[in-house]
């Protein structure tokens, strides 16, 4: 049968996405399981900050106390939750938008198995207090080798999806000569390209520095080189988290809100700019590092300001699309159309709430990147306040909002409680608003991040007031999370079986791809430009470090 079909042209290309649907489901399930554990650690932290110590009773489970819990919080929330969710979501969005399965289903399953193997390997030392090194694992802190090997496998697994996407897109282009890659598939592959290029940094750190050193094959390492390679990946990774949320905001939310995407060309331009500008900016995390010249820190700050521009384009395009939807639903006036958005649909309201808080996160991010202004906030709780708005809200809350339609779509079960789902993002909004506001305030008053404040002898009186309100915010978020998880568990186990699973379509554009220059789809051109800018921005610093590096700093286990 297969060989007859292959010979006869044109063939009916398979549109069976059952493998992709399964992979999306499994990945997203793992992601939210990780977030549940990671999020719970956050509750322990904010209580401890206010003198309520739950670490002592949890000693058998959590021998490393606050710092082990914090490492779990970081690793599970920003490495495991995000990566698994994104791989699952992009796999499905990409294939759904091309209306064809991935070129190799075996490779697609291999992607999952490599990542799961990595997760299990990394979890063993993490949960046994043998990798209490934070998710940044700065050497000379030295964890069990399994931790590094596991995380490397998770990253390596993601590369397989890119390979599969490229094969699939090439086959699609061959079958559809002269056609534009549909916007969701275009955005998915650009995200994976950007991410894969960025992982050169952390992969080199792991393979050449950290893994041989943690296995005892070499005696020492170079901390500044390791940090530089880590942040080479560590800033682009935030765009790896963010861009899938943008994909939903651009290509799904306008349709779900009853409107259209304002501009497809503008959306393509912004993603190409993300591909180029997300990469050469990691050193703005190292503004206070010795061993790196001031000049390159300034250059990276300037490029970080550059990447603000495509985010502003996104803001305009998405809000214009929402306005179009609001007016179509009967809205009028300058701003009154906002009330005509479908606020009763949780998949929409959750993502709009995420956008609103993200605006503040974007602004505090500009402060962080602002070269000498960074001296005020670096490594203070301001930074924690910042990224709880970005990855903790723009990304995590959008990912939750997506599941409000995606889970019924994938399982054919009706959402258990619409009421809980409508309330959940607003609780998050209030809780995160309080928490992040007071974390920012505490940072400005000098409270360090990643510090067991409950046990610190230097806590200032004025901090206590802010810490209390940060705790209230944290507890409201906890309630929001309970609403979410309860709803999802009940949907999966008790949700009403629908006769037919609800389908979805991507948003049409007011100004479509026909208005976009064709060169935007020539991804190799943009990858080449990105690579050149990346080389200019990193090679001098890395050579400079290598010139004086002695690789003689021994590892330490200090927990």
């Amino acid at each position: 049968m297969a060989s007859i079909a292959a010979r006869a042209r044109p063939v009916a290309i398979s549109t069976d996405l059952s493998v992709e649907r399964k992979l999306a489901g499994i990945n997203i399930f793992i992601a939210f399981a990780a977030l549940a554990v990671g999020g719970l650690m956050g509750v322990l932290q904010i209580l401890r900050y206010n003198g309520l110590d739950l670490y002592t009773p949890s000693k058998p489970l959590l021998p490393g106390g606050y710092y082990q819990g914090l490492t779990i919080h970081g690793v599970l929330n920003v490495l495991v939750f995000t990566t698994f969710y994104i791989i699952g979501f992009l796999t499905y969005i990409f294939t759904k938008s091309l209306n064809r399965p991935l070129a190799s289903s075996r490779l697609a399953w291999a992607t999952l198995w490599v990542m799961v193997t990595g997760l299990v390997l990394a979890a063993i030392p993490l949960l046994t207090n043998n990798a209490t090194v934070m998710f940044t694992f700065y050497p000379p802190l030295k964890a069990d080798a399994l931790f590094y090997i596991g995380l490397t496998l998770v990253v390596a697994g993601t590369w397989l999806l890119l390979v599969n996407m490229i094969m699939t897109r090439n086959a699609w282009l061959a079958d559809n000569p002269g056609q534009r890659t549909p916007l969701p598939a275009f955005m998915a592959i650009v995200t994976m390209l950007m991410w894969t290029i960025s992982t050169i940094g952390v992969a080199s750190e792991m393979l050449f520095l950290v893994i041989p050193w943690s296995l005892g094959l070499v005696g020492g390492t170079d901390p500044v080189l390791a940090r530089t390679l880590f942040w080479f990946t560590g800033h682009p990774i935030v765009y790896f988290w963010l861009l899938p949320a943008y994909i939903s905001w651009y290509t799904l939310v306008p349709e779900q809100a009853g409107g259209k995407l304002f501009s497809d060309p503008m959306a393509r331009v912004s993603f190409i700019l993300f591909l180029i500008l997300s990469l050469p900016i990691g050193m703005h995390h190292q503004v206070t590092d010795p061993g790196i010249s001031e000049m390159w820190k300034l250059v990276h700050a300037i490029f970080t300001f550059g990447v603000f521009f495509p985010s502003l384009l996104t803001f305009f395009n998405v809000v214009a699309s929402l306005e179009y939807a609001g007016r179509r639903n009967g809205g009028e006036g300058w701003l009154a159309w906002i009330f005509n958005l479908p606020w009763g649909k949780p998949e929409i309201s959750t993502q709009i709430v995420a956008m609103m808080l993200f605006a503040f996160g974007g602004i505090s991010g500009l402060v962080n990147a602002s070269y000498n202004v960074n001296l005020v906030v670096h490594n203070t709780s301001w930074i924690s306040g910042h990224f709880h708005l970005t990855v903790g809200t723009a990304v995590a809350l959008s990912f939750m909002g997506i599941t409000y339609w995606l889970v019924p779509h994938l399982t054919g079960r009706k959402l258990w409680s619409r009421g809980l789902a409508v309330a959940q993002p607003w609780l998050w909004f209030v809780g995160m608003g309080l928490f992040s506001h007071f974390m920012h305030e505490l940072g400005l008053r000098g409270m360090p991040r990643r510090t067991d404040i409950g046990g610190a002898p230097y806590v200032q009186d004025e901090w206590r007031f802010f810490l209390f309100f940060a705790m209230i915010g944290g507890l409201i978020m906890f309630v929001s999370a309970i609403f979410y998880y309860l709803n999802m568990i009940m949907t999966l186990t008790r949700g009403e079986k629908l006769a037919e699973a609800p389908d979805f379509t991507f948003a049409k554009a007011i100004s479509g791809p026909e208005d976009a220059p064709k060169i935007l789809d020539r991804l190799l051109v943009w990858v080449a430009i990105a690579a050149i800018i990346l080389i200019i921005n990193y090679v001098p610093t890395i050579l400079d470090i290598l010139r004086t590096a002695t690789f003689d700093v021994p590892g330490r286990r200090v927990w």
Binding site: P223, F305, R450, I453, R556
Partner: protein, 162 residues
């Protein structure tokens, strides 16, 4: 129809221009504070042998403490290790200009003085060198703001300006 397209084009331009202007003006403000006012960030200050520092054999870091190198000009040589700064208290008269020269004996530490423009990582094998002028008398809290192990939260110090 044509008018409608033109109007949306105007809206796009009205958004894009400030989208460029805002970051550019912020950048100009940063450049002014950095190069006209002189608020600079840490930069390369050389390497040291971490084993020599740990053994007390390094010429600079074997003599920790404060010394006056000129009237009103001080140098503070400080080492960081789990979980303390040596020395952890420095006293200078108001108006002093102090250069802090630091390194770590083990893992990465942080050195932030609350109320002064001092915020620098302290990395084994690297020298950190930062300078600030202390005009206002008082006690300035110094914290290690990089996770350095189980006792990270007890690692702090003070700068007393009298």
């Amino acid at each position: 129809m044509k008018d409608k397209k033109f109007i949306s084009y105007l809206f796009e331009v009205a958004w894009i221009l400030p989208s460029v202007a805002i970051p550019v003006s912020m950048l100009v403000a940063i450049l002014i504070t950095a190069f006209a006012v002189g608020v600079r960030v840490p930069t390369t200050a050389g390497r040291v042998s971490v084993s020599a520092v740990a053994a007390g054999a390094d010429a600079t870091f074997s003599q920790t403490g404060l010394r006056e190198i000129a009237p009103g000009r001080y140098e503070a040589i400080i080492t960081a290790q789990t979980f303390m700064f040596t020395p952890n208290k420095i006293e200078v008269p108001a108006g002093s200009k102090v250069t802090f020269i630091l390194t770590s004996k083990d893992v990465i530490h942080g050195f932030k003085i609350e109320g002064a423009p001092i915020n620098v990582m302290v990395i084994p094998g690297q020298v950190s060198r930062v300078t600030a002028t202390f005009d206002k008398p008082g006690e300035y809290l110094v914290v290690c703001h990089e996770y350095c192990g189980a006792g990270h939260h007890v690692m702090y110090g003070t700068v007393v300006v009298y």
